[in-house]
């Protein structure tokens, strides 16, 4: 075997080809194991170490493995190497083995990916990346965060940007805005109570600006919207009443709570100002939204002023009703006004998964 002749340089024992030779590997916790040479050599990083430094031939000269490789994961990796380095396996066999091999919990899969990468074992990295992509695909952001233990540390506003156009149904989008806004208001209210310095997304504003492009917002949308948000907060406290009409396409009046209706025809903008409008309509379909309302309510601390809470609930319900009843006409009006801009917002979205996003916000 070629390896043997190269290994006989340096302080290694000359090994006869028929005898099984072993490589010694040490993980960061100090434990040392011995592994069949051909299996260990399957890892480029180990192979490289052996050839460059001559280490690994005995226990006292064990090769130190990178930190990301713990003993359990090393075991998995060696199983993989042992299978694949055996010659004569058919492609089908390899595929079947791979499919079975990656069936493990997500945490392990991530550790395995990381370890394989540090050992430069590209086929395994590809395999695990594919598995991780499969896990991610189709999940809602909430689900993904849960699966991978991701901290939910973006502000509402930051989150809104990309999600705004992810859903299919403009109604859902609007509702997302509503929920998000509501949560934000609640947060703000709490902050007012705690007399905290309000964290400002000042630093992230540019980021938001950028991200808003991906969501079909216009350059100036952000500015007006931000302004309007502040206005609206005040207005809300003053118990505003709106005279606006959804079909009103004024987008430059600062006091107008619905500035964006015509701006880009993107309905998600429409309700930035005030979630509650004219409780003109009735409708049974409001019922469909109530489970979502409950979900939101679960987040609310009970130290909220119940009257305020009630008002918010009412607003949300009215809003939901409006959405359901005069939806088609509204759409028409708004879209026709938005003709000069972009009537169809950019959406990043999944098919048929619209409903999930209502929960995720």
């Amino acid at each position: 075997m070629q390896w043997h002749s190269q290994m006989s340089e340096g302080n290694m024992e000359v090994v006869k080809p028929e005898m099984k030779s072993y490589i010694w590997l040490q993980t960061t916790d100090g434990s040392i194991q011995q592994v069949e040479e051909e299996v260990a050599m399957f890892c480029p990083m180990i192979c490289h170490e052996i050839l460059q430094t001559g280490m690994g031939s005995s226990k006292s000269y064990a090769i130190s493995l990178p930190q990301r490789v713990n003993p359990a994961i090393l075991g998995l990796i060696l199983d993989y190497c042992r299978f694949h380095q055996t010659p004569g396996r058919s492609n089908k066999e390899r595929k079947t083995f791979d499919e079975k091999f990656i069936r493990m919990d997500t945490k392990r899969l991530c550790e395995l990916t990381s370890a394989a990468d540090s050992l430069q074992l590209k086929p395994l990295v590809d395999l695990t990346s594919r598995a991780l992509a499969r896990i991610i695909e189709g999940k809602t952001p909430e689900e993904i965060r849960e699966t991978f233990h991701l901290p939910d540390d973006l502000t509402e506003e930051e989150k809104l940007e990309p999600l705004r156009n992810i859903t299919d149904d403009p109604r859902i989008r609007l509702l997302n805005r509503l929920y998000a806004r509501k949560r934000k208001e609640l947060k703000e209210r709490q902050k007012l109570k705690n007399v905290e310095v309000e964290e400002e997304h000042v630093d992230d504003r540019s980021v938001d600006d950028l991200l808003s492009y991906i969501n079909g917002g216009d350059g100036d949308t952000k500015g007006t919207r931000a302004k309007n948000k502040k206005k609206n907060r005040r207005r809300k406290d003053q118990n505003k009443d709106s005279s606006s009409n959804h079909s009103n396409g004024n987008h430059n009046k600062e006091l107008d709570p619905l500035p964006h209706a015509g701006q880009n025809g993107d309905l998600s903008e429409v309700f930035v100002g005030c979630p509650s409008k004219n409780s003109t309509s009735q409708d049974s379909a409001a019922v469909t939204f109530s489970p979502k309302l409950e979900f939101i309510d679960g987040d609310i601390d009970d130290d909220l002023d119940p009257a305020m809470k009630e008002e918010l609930d009412r607003e949300v319900e009215d809003f939901a009703r409006r959405l359901n009843s005069d939806w088609p006409e509204r759409m028409q009006e708004i879209l026709s006004l938005g003709q000069e801009r972009r009537p169809v917002p950019v959406s990043i979205n999944g098919n048929g998964s619209a409903s999930r996003y209502t929960m995720s916000m």
Partner: protein, 421 residues
């Protein structure tokens, strides 16, 4: 569940792995990951592979609206993107020619683009802007329904390895120039060209795929060619050209491909090869040719049969052979030479490695039967010969079978599978 005390499993993996994962997601999902957490906000923006299709946007019945949102989406992605872009692919029939695409290509040309694939839908063809020709690092180019008109100063893509042009409007000499000015070209695919007389000089070419109306195919310098597939359509123009041609097409086309491992010919390819002088004099051998597939061979045209025979007898390592007959053969003008197959007796040549033979669209004409008999008698290691008669000749099937059963088989292992549906 909410074991948020557990450490973040994934955000701190090296960027190469993150990219590996994100590129395996549809681009829309990958971008959506930006709302997961603060660390993920911009992870997608450094992706070096951007692949778009109609799933990126909401589909409605309004094609123009879909196009608009698609254009917006892609433009915005590019705008937010940071860093080099190595692969850019837009593959959807919704895409139409518009100025936005010019701007994308300009942007990409400044960002080290290596692989570019654009498929446009039905409609006006897109005239590729001159900035494309400045993409020095281009290794793969795929264009559907575009117009190519490189400037006179264009010296070729020095790094181009793969070129795929489908329904592309380009002057014939320009296409030849492009091909021969890309020294590293390994894979070439040209489809739906009109009346092209093609002269290919590509010393590194390994894969060739041609489909369309070709007047001439001259592989002048392709010594490393390994896999070749040609489908030649016929028009009156081309038919005339064939009649007037005096050069030996076989040699022009297959004379310089000693490394060929796979040959696949469709429609009028065998006819094309049969035109010209008899190549029997030339000692061409295809030592690596293992698979031959020739479709629409007319067994009533002696010249075509000779081409087939010449090919297979010059391929000592042939393992798999697929022949399909031509169901629209003209009525035989002369009485088939029944002696022909006797002359090519089994002692003349043996197909020492031929294992699989598939014959389809059989009409049962004399020479087809002769050919099968010849093969059966000359293939000592044959494992399977499967025969599928042409659907139009139901009555003849029985006759085919009767004759077939009599043929001697050189291989005791040979299975004859007659597929009649």
């Amino acid at each position: 569940m909410g074991d948020f005390s557990g450490a973040d499993l994934i955000s701190d993996l090296p960027q190469s792995i993150i990219e590996s994962i994100l590129t395996r997601l549809p681009i829309r999902d990958a971008i959506r990951m930006s709302i997961l957490s603060s660390k993920w906000r911009y992870k997608w923006t450094t992706l070096t592979q951007l692949v778009f299709d109609e799933k990126c946007v909401t589909l409605t019945n309004d094609g123009a609206a879909v196009l608009k949102s698609l254009l917006n989406f892609i433009t915005r992605v590019l705008f937010l993107h940071q860093g080099p872009i190595h692969k850019f692919q837009v593959w959807t029939s919704y895409l139409q020619s518009c100025p936005d695409i010019d701007q994308w290509i300009l942007f990409l040309s400044r960002n080290d683009i290596k692989e570019l694939a654009l498929e446009l839908g039905e409609g006006e063809w897109f005239r590729v802007p001159s900035c494309l020709y400045k993409c020095k690092k281009l290794t793969r180019l795929e264009l559907f329904r575009c117009e190519l008109e490189p400037p006179l100063t264009f010296k070729g893509f020095v790094s181009l390895k793969s070129l795929n042009l489908h329904q592309v409007l380009v002057a014939p000499d320009v296409i030849e120039n492009i091909i021969c000015s890309c020294p590293l070209l390994e894979s070439l695919s040209l489809s739906y060209f009109d009346s092209l007389a093609l002269n290919i000089r590509a010393p590194n070419l390994k894969y060739l795929y041609l489909e369309g109306e070709f007047k001439d195919i001259w592989l002048e310098d392709t010594p490393l060619l390994v896999d070749m597939s040609v489908a030649m359509y016929m028009t009156d123009d081309i038919a005339e050209h064939f009649e007037q041609s005096s050069s030996c097409n076989f040699v022009k086309c297959l004379g310089g491909v000693p490394q060929l491992e796979r040959l696949s010919g469709h429609i009028y390819f065998s006819k094309y090869l049969s035109i010209g002088n008899d190549p029997g004099i030339l000692p061409l051998t295809y030592n690596h040719l293992k698979t031959i597939e020739l479709n629409q061979v007319s067994f009533e045209d002696m010249k075509e049969i000779l081409v087939v025979l010449y090919l297979i007898t010059s391929s000592p390592n042939l393992v798999e052979l697929q022949i399909s007959g031509s169901s629209n053969t003209p009525a035989a003008t002369d009485v088939p030479d029944l002696e022909f197959w006797e002359k090519k007796g089994p002692s003349d040549c043996l197909f020492k490695r031929l294992k699989v033979v598939k014959i389809t669209d059989m009409s049962g004409v004399t020479h087809e039967m002769g050919f099968m008999k010849f093969l059966l008698g000359s293939s000592p290691v044959l494992e399977v010969m499967s025969i599928t008669p042409c659907v139009y000749v139901l009555e003849a099937q029985l006759n085919i079978l009767i004759e077939l059963v009599r043929f001697r088989r050189a291989s005791s292992q040979a299975e004859i599978v007659f597929c009649s549906d």
